[in-house]
Symmetry: C2
Subunit: 127 residues, 2 copies
């Protein structure tokens, strides 16, 4: 079953890029109101057309960290029919953290943008 995909061989940096952004992403997705795990995964996939998709195995540890940090509060809901769901909601400090992280992201992205578009790319080949 040699389904080796050449395109996939060139490792993507997306995983690494997400590292600093995931908590921000999740907090942001919780800003409009509470949501449960699977819903967050679906929301992210939908809102970015799959560009920033994550799996549940990635999300749950993030949610756990956010809960431990006091950024989200948790509520179980067991409906008459269906599987129990764990709803997450931003706390006040969570909302403040969201603002802080958004600011950090913006600052970083701006620095990257400025660096990459710098006119300092002269072609003085000293050879």
């Amino acid at each position: 079953m040699a389904v080796e995909n050449d395109a996939e061989d060139r490792k993507s940096i997306e995983r690494e890029l997400k590292r600093g952004a995931l908590e921000l992403i999740v907090l942001h997705l919780l800003a409009p109101g509470e949501a449960y795990g699977y819903e967050i995964v679906a929301k992210l996939t939908a809102e970015t057309n799959g560009t920033l998709a994550i799996t549940d195995g990635t999300l749950y540890p993030v949610l756990y960290r956010l809960e431990r940090a006091g950024f989200v509060s948790v509520r179980w809901e067991t409906p008459q029919r269906g599987v129990p769901r764990k709803y997450y909601q931003l706390t006040d400090t969570g909302r403040a953290e969201l603002v802080r992280l958004k600011r950090e992201w913006t600052s970083f992205a701006a620095a990257m943008s400025k660096l990459l578009s710098a006119k300092g790319v002269r072609d003085d080949d000293d050879r």
Copy 2:
């Protein structure tokens, strides 16, 4: 010894954000022409006003990865006076990789920007 710094306790996400961007940053800094390690560190600090600064302990492993991957070529220079320097220069594949990484970064940053600025943040409190 309660010299706990509250400000520092809020961990910065900058370290994590750099993760996916560092190779891109270094390749980009090498685009104008060859440079040696300490020079790259100084260049990055200068061009971003310290926003994206790294230490040499971070850089050298990156350069080693880039060399192993064939993205940069290496040349030692031992001047009459002064410490020997190791000059790095982009290869052709390195230049291609730079283009690829820049594209990946742009795509990621665009997705983040779109997500964070989405008008989808309705305040429909379904209570």
